[in-house]
Symmetry: C2
């Protein structure tokens, strides 16, 4: 009889999705909502990209080659070369966003039942795509007190079983902002070599590193057969709606496998591939990216300092990306708290929306007193949003104490 | 150790892919290749669509809503209303091409091990996505002599097992051009109701029907819980590179399931969604589509008549799409024949590329004396291409007979 597949049934709905109607209702009541919950930058997309789309000389909007337009692949190879990452056009495949790239990486390498190690907390869609591919996510536990850096490698090694096929992570990380050190990535590479695992490194926030430089998985030649780079232009170009990413690997078998997956979905969108070519050909593209990075760097400092004014708050200054993962020891259900902010609280006609922490954990019970805060607003707004959050936390804790006392 | 997933390993490489290097080599030798092998129209994309992309007022190219921009969904609902298909904005989901729509339809409804009935020959990517979703394709055999219309319903019913979850087809069909009659679709709907199956109807060629009208699965109210419509603007707008399609269903559970799948891949591309809005808002959009249909109609007649001049050829005049499936009883390996045309034949400095028939069959040994011919060239070129094909067939058969006689 008619039914829904088991894997889709086991996909968790997003808590952001559950909370959104409350945000909409708050706005209808005339309340301004500061959105600290989303990973969507507010910075204008560079003009060269937009002009590349608008000036594209296209008469028949035909399928692009399944692995991407040759010019786009070459432009990507050039971009990596500027960063000192040596790739050829035979290594790089254009994907429909970074999402498709890690989906393909899992599909190409993992059978149903295989296990994937992922440092926790992690980007929730890693779980979604793992479920759809029939894989079990094995979390590598990290701690807020350590700034979410990796535990000792022997702890990670203990998680490896005969079913382990890959280690997957983002670096710098969504949702924690941690930028792994060279030694950490090297440690993972050694484990991968020792145990025959793939290392899938998701690096869309590469330039958004404010302490040192991000270490790319592609900078370990000894891991050439193990390394799969996942990338996206969404964040560094503030072009999330372009749906342009890539998968790069020097492993010919993985490349051929991903090629097959590309064939069955036909092609990535054409206009945006040409937009990227125009952006990367523009002599100012490094300056454009640097401008975006500078904004986020300043915001990180401002947001971090503002958060320190909240009594009891636990967080470390993250090295990169545009998120801070924050613990409020006073609360025990951050989704209820996030909902409260939207339904039962306002100050000066304003409130704030945050992303509940549990959504980023596979381990039940973890993250329930944590939230992810994104700094995708201008600095004065960030400062004000934290004031509102602080006030909301205070009244929430007070009201909860009142309820408990009754 | 490092390996490739079993499902990807079992994805057949496309024969077109295998043949393409030979076409490239032929072109390098100065030979003109008529491409009858592809499903990529040569007709310019309507100006209103292109202007919609170019004039899109976008400052920050942000993620669109996962299920599509509200305006795009509304425009699609309006398009269906013009065709007499009544859908609401809660039924329609924008997808990244029709490919993603049937991928989602399978993922939402079928567990690994479930079976999907598909009339054979069929679009090869149905097989690719079924393999990736762990499903078994059970072919419904059709015959070239019947113009690939469906066999009697009791024959189809005998294929249904407790594992059968859905019937999937394109109408009118890629690769055969058959347009199923109302009675045929009604027969499938009755089977679906009786056995609790989903009916997934892929209708990107809807307007490209030259005898009567295409019957949409959405015109059977009794199947509202069973029907899943898959659609794409690729063919009717000659906009394959836009990667805009949709999935529509009145089944709320399926809609909710597909919504979850949309969330984990984030969003369809923004610019092209706005291009579609501009196209459908333009008062000339029906005329634009009708102009494209008229061209293909004339080409079908021209190509069909030309094919009749080939000795021994077996084909029926197809009702729709832009393909004719052709049998040459003289040959026994149409991939070898297609390769021969590219490597060992030319006439007047020209040759032709066709799609080998076996690629469209799941049943081993079927289609080996058949090819798919697409009419995506102007009429004089089609006529010439068939002359070339005819000459190539004659020398191929002659040479083979010579080899056999030695």
């Amino acid at each position: 009889m008619l039914s829904i597949s088991d894997r889709v049934k086991s996909l968790k709905g997003s808590p952001i999705r559950r909370l959104t109607p409350f945000a909409t209702a708050a706005k209808k009541r005339g309340i301004h909502v500061y959105h600290l919950n989303i990973g969507q930058p507010d910075i204008p997309t560079p003009a060269s990209f937009m002009e590349g789309v608008r000036n594209a000389k296209i008469d028949v909007l035909s399928y692009s080659p399944a692995m991407g337009i040759a010019e786009t692949i070459d432009a990507m190879v050039g971009y990596y070369a500027e960063l000192g990452i040596s790739l050829t056009r035979d290594d790089v495949i254009v994907t429909i966003g970074g999402s498709e790239a890690f989906c393909f990486a899992l599909q190409a390498t993992c059978n149903p039942g295989d296990e994937v190690l992922i440092p926790e907390p992690f980007y929730p869609n890693y779980m979604g795509h793992s479920i759809m591919n029939g894989n079990r996510v094995v979390p590598i536990r990290t701690r807020i007190e350590d700034g979410f850096h990796l535990p000792p490698m022997n702890e990670i090694e203990r998680l490896i079983t005969p079913k382990t096929k890959a280690i997957l992570f983002s670096n710098p990380s969504n949702p924690t902002g941690v930028g792994y050190t060279h030694a950490e990535i090297e440690g993972l590479v050694k484990l991968a070599l020792k145990h025959g695992l793939y290392v899938i490194s998701d690096e869309p926030y590469r330039e958004l590193m404010y302490e040192g430089e991000a270490t790319s998985i592609m900078s370990f030649p000894e891991a050439s057969q193990h390394a799969i780079l996942v990338d996206s232009i969404s964040k560094r170009l503030s072009a999330c709606g372009a749906r342009i990413g890539c998968l790069a690997t020097r492993n010919k078998d993985v490349h051929a496998a991903v090629n097959k997956l590309c064939q069955i979905r036909l092609s990535p969108p054409t206009f945006e591939q040409l937009g990227l070519v125009a952006f990367l050909k523009d002599k100012n593209h490094k300056r454009d990216i640097a401008g975006i990075v500078r904004k986020f760097h300043a915001r990180r400092d401002t947001l971090f300092d503002a958060l320190q004014t909240i009594p009891g708050v636990v967080c470390r200054k993250p090295e990169g990306a545009f998120y801070i993962f924050v613990q409020f020891p006073q609360i025990d259900d951050s989704e209820a708290f996030a909902k409260y902010l939207l339904t039962d609280f306002e100050t000066g006609g304003e409130t704030v929306m945050v992303a509940p922490g549990a959504d980023f954990y596979a381990t039940p019970g973890r993250g329930t007193n944590e939230v992810r805060v994104a700094y995708v607003l201008e600095e004065p707004k960030l400062v004000r949003a934290v004031e509102v959050l602080k006030a909301g936390l205070a009244t929430y804790v007070e009201e909860k104490a009142g309820v408990a006392a009754r």
